[in-house]
């Protein structure tokens, strides 16, 4: 991968979650979409404020559902194939296709694959694990993001992004600081 250069985004620091949520809502309403909130603990309002509840953002739910359906179907078809063609066994005259007995392993696989898909799908959609992230170039982020500071980052690949206008928008929202973050 070529080394990316230039600006990653503008990072605004806030002292309270309320200010962060207000700022995130204001940025969302101003038309920004490629942005993220960074907080020391989960804040549901912040996720709502940047449009996380919108249908197109529900990737994990879709991956989980798909994983579950595929897991269940795979196991059911595997059992059918084994019992009907690969190693036909007629137990107590119940017939080859004894689907009642197939249900439980198929159900277990549904759960297993739904769970694994949700877990790994979440990591993949979040692009984790990520050994490098440009935001760690900002010293105030390194020091505060996991303890007592609340950050909003407007990313540079948003079509609305402009260094001057985005900065003046963030500065109007009473941050502690606004810094440019390099890739």
């Amino acid at each position: 991968m070529p080394v990316r250069e230039g600006i990653y985004g503008l990072l605004a620091e806030f002292n309270t979650p309320t200010e962060l949520v207000v700022a995130a809502k204001a940025s969302y309403n101003a038309g920004y979409r490629r942005m993220d909130c960074y907080t020391p603990y989960p804040i549901e309002e912040a996720a709502e404020a940047i449009g996380f509840d919108e249908p197109k953002e529900k990737g994990v739910a879709g991956v989980c559902l798909l994983g579950g359906i595929l897991g269940g179907l795979t196991m059911f078809m595997l059992e059918s194939w084994v019992s009907i063609w690969a190693y036909p066994l007629d137990i107590a005259g119940r017939g080859m296709f004894s689907w009642v007995a197939f249900v439980i392993p198929a159900y277990e696989w549904t759960i297993l694959w739904a769970g694994l898909s949700a877990g790994f799908g979440m990591l993949a959609l979040n692009r984790l694990p990520s050994p490098y992230h440009p935001l760690f170039n900002a010293p105030n982020f390194r020091n505060g993001a996991t303890s007592d500071k609340f950050f909003l980052c407007l990313e540079a690949d948003d079509p609305r992004f402009s260094i001057t206008e985005s900065r003046s928008l963030l500065e109007s929202l009473h941050p502690v600081s606004v810094v440019e973050v390099e890739h």
Binding site: P17, T18, I43, E44, E45, L65, A92, R94
Partner: protein, 424 residues
């Protein structure tokens, strides 16, 4: 976020809204219509037996929301949680309909000989030689005679209601006392409710097993299944929770419930409903799987009566209404958080209970087993339970109106009045 600004306040009047009386009037009208249809049907079909069968179905449906309400009330006392506070008063009102359910039980006990084969047959050997019953039935009736006899049926029936009556009485009485009590702290009341509810849940599962074995399972005296009691217990939780959620969703449009109603608790109740949908199919399927694997003639007959001869589509639809539809809908977070959609799911689940109870009861009788066919008598499975459940509903609304809808002096109350996800 500053506290206090968004906090909601309880209205001065915590009583049920006037709409409850309007709903009660509607329920009485529906009950009268169904009762008139049932009487007309009796005149046309001249089959009193079908009235009794419909009556048994109505009894089991009213019982499941009444005793199921009591069971969920005990569960929320031992588990805690703000969802319990939200549905506590509807659950208490459900449990207080016990006297009405007892009155509904009396006709079943009085006419037991017309309903239950084991009660009708005095001497199994004579009946066997006369060709009234087959050898398996004669053996089962003789073998189970120490349990399945009319004296025992009456004594146990009355004992069940007395036991549940004691729990209903104290849980309701204490809850009202706590509302006006400022002397004792939360600890005192919490321990009191827990100490009654914990053992109460054990007693509940034993007594309810007895109830459904006596009243429904014994319709076919030849059958054995140790899963049967648990199937009814879970089905009761399924029905009672769907009903309680439906009531609280309807009440949430008005004061005072709108003050304590939040999407968070609605979502929690939706998840609990989802758990009951799963547990219900788990029980039903386990029983089927065990009997299917065992492949024993005396067990399998019960299923054959219910799957063959036209009952197959009924059983398939039962699976569809009970599990496929509610499961698929409740997977969605949006549906669980939307009042109107969740109310629709509740209605589907309650309808599934009607359908399932019919499927459990109707194929027990010789003229319908293996052989689903239309007769005017069969319509009594709609009319009689319809009249009974509508009348039960009217009585429930009377009980709901009798008490404030928001319990007081509960530590969950100030929490539930706070805005959702309050931080920092």
């Amino acid at each position: 976020m500053e506290h206090g600004h968004n906090e909601k306040h309880l209205p001065a009047n915590l009583g049920a809204p006037a709409s409850v009386l309007r709903w009660r009037t509607r329920a009485i009208i529906a009950s009268a219509i169904f009762a008139a249809l049932a009487i007309m049907d009796l005149i046309i079909s001249r089959r009193f037996d079908y009235v009794l069968r419909g009556w048994l179905m109505g009894l089991m449906l009213c019982l499941s929301v009444c005793i199921g309400g009591l069971a969920l009330l005990m569960v929320q006392w031992v588990s805690g949680g703000k969802w319990g506070l939200l549905i506590r008063r509807p659950l208490e009102a459900m449990s207080r309909t016990l006297p009405l359910v007892f009155l509904m039980f009396l006709p079943i006990a009085i006419f037991a000989k017309r309903l239950y084969l084991w009660a009708r047959i005095t001497d199994p050997q004579v009946a066997l030689h006369a060709g009234v019953i087959d050898a398996m039935q004669a053996h089962a009736i003789a073998y189970k005679r120490p349990y399945l006899n009319l004296e025992g049926f009456w004594i146990r029936g009355i004992a069940y209601f007395i036991i549940f009556g004691i729990f209903t009485y104290f849980l309701n009485r204490w809850s009202l006392q706590r509302d006006s009590d400022t002397k004792h702290g939360n600890w005192f009341w919490q321990k009191r409710f827990e100490n009654l509810s914990g053992p109460g849940l054990v007693v509940y599962s034993l007594v309810l097993t007895g109830m459904c074995v006596d009243w429904v399972m014994s319709l076919d005296p030849t059958w054995f299944s140790s899963m049967y009691g648990f199937m009814f217990i879970v089905a009761q939780g399924y029905a009672a929770l769907a009903f309680a959620v439906l009531v609280v969703l309807a009440l949430s449009q008005y004061e005072p419930v709108n003050a304590i109603f939040r999407v968070t608790e609605q979502h929690d109740l939706g998840k609990l409903m989802f758990a009951f949908v799963m547990l219900n199919i788990y029980m039903a399927f386990s029983q089927y799987l065990i009997i299917w694997s065992g492949n024993l003639p005396n067990e399998i007959r019960w299923y054959m009566n219910r799957i063959t001869g036209g009952w197959g589509p009924v059983a398939g639809l039962d699976f569809l209404f009970h599990w496929v539809i509610p499961f698929s809908l409740l997977l969605s977070r949006d549906i669980k958080r939307n009042k109107r959609k969740l109310a629709t799911v509740c209605c589907i689940m309650l309808f599934a209970r009607f359908w399932d109870t019919w499927w459990l009861i109707a194929p027990n009788f010789p003229d319908q087993r293996h052989n689903l066919h239309f007769s005017f008598g069969m319509l009594q499975y709609i009319f009689v339970p319809g009249a009974m459940t509508a009348f039960w509903l009217a009585y429930f609304f009377t009980q709901l109106k009798a008490r404030p809808l928001v319990p007081q002096n509960d530590p969950h109350l100030p929490q539930i009045l706070e805005p959702e996800h309050a931080h920092a």
